[in-house]
């Protein structure tokens, strides 16, 4: 009976022409004013995602999509407040790492039985992508990408320092070599070897985490924090040796470190896959100091390959599925549209999640794609936790204390361990 009613409701919805079902959408990635509807022409994360959303709004019959204004830095606070107030957006983007928190509370709609009817084939998702949206045996979203830290390389500076072989950058394979390469770049070019946001957003944390995973270590295991050990010390000192020798600047934030790289003031920038197309476009411009750009896999400085990674995914609130089948149906169509445009989103530099896209010629032809082909196989993240955000914040503060305020490494690691333990115990 219920199905019939829902079906009738749907039919009624479609029978009335001109009355479009409005779907509200929450996302980060930043603002793009004139994204248009051409999903092949836009550049940069913000404009590419907005062009896909605009195209969905224009292209799906009977559905319009309204993108809500949100701020990237406070995105999850806004989303949580919206859920707590009972007015979450009909569809919203989120990270894999937030699934335990949101799905664990029953905030997200379970979609296993709805995907096929909406034209989404979960079997086409790469296994890791399916993992990303799964929780307790259910599927709680539609994955959109894998993203990971890369080493963005200025090939001209590397060539000057003699660090290019066969058209590829020569990257270090140990902390000692890292220091040696950095000195070679400084001597040959006078520029810093490595830049990254060590001062505000947790790019520095992700760097240290990767170096810990490369030694088979992690920041916590079950309910026990494991930060204050030799692996963390090795990871941190691999970085601080560069600061101490004046071969990298810890005080640059995200915008400044990116600017330093684009100005040709750093040979390597550690940042995510999300800027590959942007840097490619910048390198093509004559006025930037970056002319020959290469996107390299995060190098292995210790025993095994590892780089920080996460996934973007789209979810629908459980309340929408339970109370408003019409809008829920429209929201699913939007997710299907985004899923269909996985190749367009991959233009950002992110890795696609659909096997059919990953194996396509279009995907392989994306700029620099072959340069970081190994990244997918070394992608890692911290163990799932409801307190992911707070734990990242602790690490960010203590690591900043090391490189910005000269706090002794041992003290900082001990403090970080105590505080993460507090969070795990709560």
């Amino acid at each position: 009976m219920k199905q019939i009613l829902i079906g009738a409701a749907f039919a009624a919805g479609f029978a009335v022409p001109g009355v479009a079902q409005e779907v509200t959408l929450g996302r980060f990635f930043g603002a793009c004013e004139d994204a248009g509807t051409d999903t092949k022409a836009s550049v940069g994360e913000a404009c590419i995602i907005q062009s896909i959303i605009n195209a969905a709004s224009a292209g799906i019959d009977g559905v319009t999509v309204e993108t809500l204004p949100t701020d990237w830095g406070n995105y999850y606070d806004q989303i949580k407040a919206a859920y707590a107030g009972g007015t979450p957006p009909d569809v919203h983007v989120m990270h894999r790492h937030r699934v335990p928190e949101f799905a664990g509370l029953g905030a997200l709609a379970e979609l296993s039985d709805d995907l096929a009817a909406a034209g989404i084939d979960p079997d086409d998702w790469a296994p890791a992508a399916r993992d990303a949206v799964s929780f307790d045996g259910g599927i709680y979203g539609v994955p959109m990408d894998f993203h990971a830290n890369l080493w963005h390389v200025n090939m001209d500076l590397m060539a000057e320092a003699g660090l290019v072989e066969d058209g590829k950058p020569v990257l270090p394979s140990s902390p000692e070599e890292l220091l040696k390469h950095a000195q070679m770049v400084k001597e040959a070019t006078g520029q810093d070897y490595l830049a990254a946001d060590f001062a505000q957003f947790p790019i520095g944390v992700r760097l240290v985490l990767a170096l810990m995973w490369q030694q088979g270590a992690n920041i916590f295991d079950g309910d026990t924090a494991t930060i204050n050990d030799a692996a963390a010390l090795n990871a941190v000192t691999a970085i601080t040796q560069l600061f101490d020798a004046d071969l990298a600047d810890p005080q640059l934030n995200y915008a400044d470190s990116q600017q330093a790289f684009l100005n040709g003031e750093a040979a390597v920038l550690v940042n995510g896959t999300w800027v590959v197309d942007l840097y490619d476009a910048e390198a093509a411009k004559a006025e930037t100091g970056l002319n020959d750009y290469y996107a390299a896999d995060f190098p292995t400085l210790f025993d095994q390959g590892a780089t920080w990674a996460d996934s973007h995914m789209w979810a629908i609130p459980a309340s929408l599925k339970a109370n408003d089948p019409e809008t829920f149906g429209a929201a699913l169509k939007v997710l299907a549209f985004i899923n269909d445009h996985n190749i367009d989103w991959a233009r950002t530099g992110h890795m696609a999640v659909r096997t059919s896209v990953l194996e396509s010629a279009d995907y392989a032809a994306l700029p620099h794609r072959d340069e970081y082909a190994t990244t997918a196989s070394i992608a890692r993240d911290t163990p799932p936790s409801e307190r992911y955000g707070a734990i990242q914040d602790v690490l960010n503060r203590e690591l900043q204390a090391i490189w910005l305020t000269d706090k002794p490494v041992e003290t900082a690691l001990a403090d970080a361990e105590a505080e993460v333990q507090d969070l795990l115990d709560r």
Partner: protein, 366 residues
């Protein structure tokens, strides 16, 4: 005839009329201020997860004052007179000064009590510290309170002095001064997002005005927002620039209240310029100055946007302030009970200053 008819109607007594007219205000006040405030206290007595309770109202648990204990107290906390010598000595000195000034009758009783109380608190509170093997349950809370106090301690005198000097300088009825008044007030109408954006660009070591000037003179630009020594200063400078306007307008109003006769009389006694300012302007502005200071204190204890948008509380928590910590605890960590406990603490501090203003204000009315 008409008058008789009105007189014949049942009249409200003055009290009834007052009650009737006040009713709308009280209704709104109770609904939007008193009730949320009491509810905040109620929430602070619970283990209350923002999202969990939204989905299941029974997911909260009454835990009494545990949130307060978890935030403010620790394991093995001890008190000693020399845990934080610098602050405690200042506290002792303040208490002594209050007693001395009161005894020699150079300070009124209420002011002496206020100063004495603040000094005693300054002596007692920093004395608490974790003993052997002990630790604070929340390592960030008291440093955050300290940062907030530093911020208020730098911003309030900064705003007050700058606004006073500017007001005295442009307190003339010429067109140029009217333009300047508008210019100085203009920053006040901007929202915190705009203000912090402007100053983030100003402070940027790559494109900022300050860095460019430094480089012209051959210096290395300061990385204001991520340098431990300059981050708080950067936020304070931004705030002074932003909140100058209201203080300046209040001072201008106060200055225009001072009778010109006083200055004329002063001029006859050879008091002009700085001397006139010191002996005529300042004493007559005393009430305005008190008002500005107390308003600023209450306002700046609630600082949030500058720290949140410019430094994200960093580097290493040096610009983490109380309201930002409350926000993070409540929204990022979903721990609404704990966040409410901190908010109640902030309320107690701010109401302390409100009482102080009340006391000082009454004294002047004597």
């Amino acid at each position: 005839m008409a008058r008789d008819r009105i007189a014949g109607r049942r009249r409200l007594t003055q009290k009834q009329a007052a009650a009737l007219l006040l009713l709308p205000f009280f209704a709104v006040y109770a609904m939007f201020l008193v009730y949320p405030f009491l509810r905040g206290i109620w929430i602070s007595l619970h283990d209350w997860n923002l999202l969990a309770v939204a989905f299941n109202p029974d997911a909260k648990e009454f835990i009494g004052f545990e949130n307060y204990q978890r935030v403010m107290w620790g394991q093995n906390i001890e008190w000693s007179a020399w845990a934080s010598p610098a602050l405690q000595v200042v506290g002792l000195a303040g208490a002594g000064l209050a007693a001395f000034l009161r005894r020699t009758d150079r300070m009124s009783r209420a002011t002496a009590i206020a100063l004495g109380l603040a000094s005693v608190l300054l002596f007692v509170l920093p004395g608490f510290h974790p003993g052997e093997g002990g630790r604070w349950y929340d390592r960030r809370f008291w440093p955050t309170v300290g940062n907030t106090l530093v911020f208020v301690g730098l911003t309030v005198p900064g705003v007050t002095l700058t606004a006073l000097v500017i007001a005295a300088a442009i307190n003339r009825e010429t067109r140029a001064m009217a333009v300047l008044r508008t210019l100085f007030f203009l920053s006040q109408v901007l929202s915190v997002t705009v203000v912090t954006l402007i100053w983030q660009i100003m402070f940027s070591p790559r494109q900022g005005l300050i860095a460019n000037i430094t480089e012209v003179f051959g210096g290395t630009p300061i990385v204001w927002l991520t340098d431990q020594q300059f981050a708080m200063a950067a936020i304070v400078i931004t705030t002074i620039w932003w909140s100058l306007g209201i203080a300046m307008i209040l001072f201008l109003a106060g200055l225009q209240d001072i009778s010109a006769d006083l200055y004329e009389a002063g001029a006859l006694d050879n008091a002009t310029g700085v001397r006139a300012f010191r002996h005529i302007t300042l004493p007559n502005l005393k009430r305005t100055i008190t008002l500005v200071i107390v308003l600023q204190i209450i306002l700046h204890f609630q600082v949030f946007g500058q720290s949140h948008l410019m430094t994200q509380g960093g580097p290493n928590d040096t610009t983490q302030v109380l309201v930002r910590y409350i926000y993070q605890t409540g929204f990022r960590d979903s721990e609404l009970g704990r966040a409410s406990a901190m908010a109640v603490f902030l309320f107690v501090i701010m109401s302390g200053f409100s009482v102080l203003q009340f006391v000082v204000g009454r004294e002047d009315d004597r």
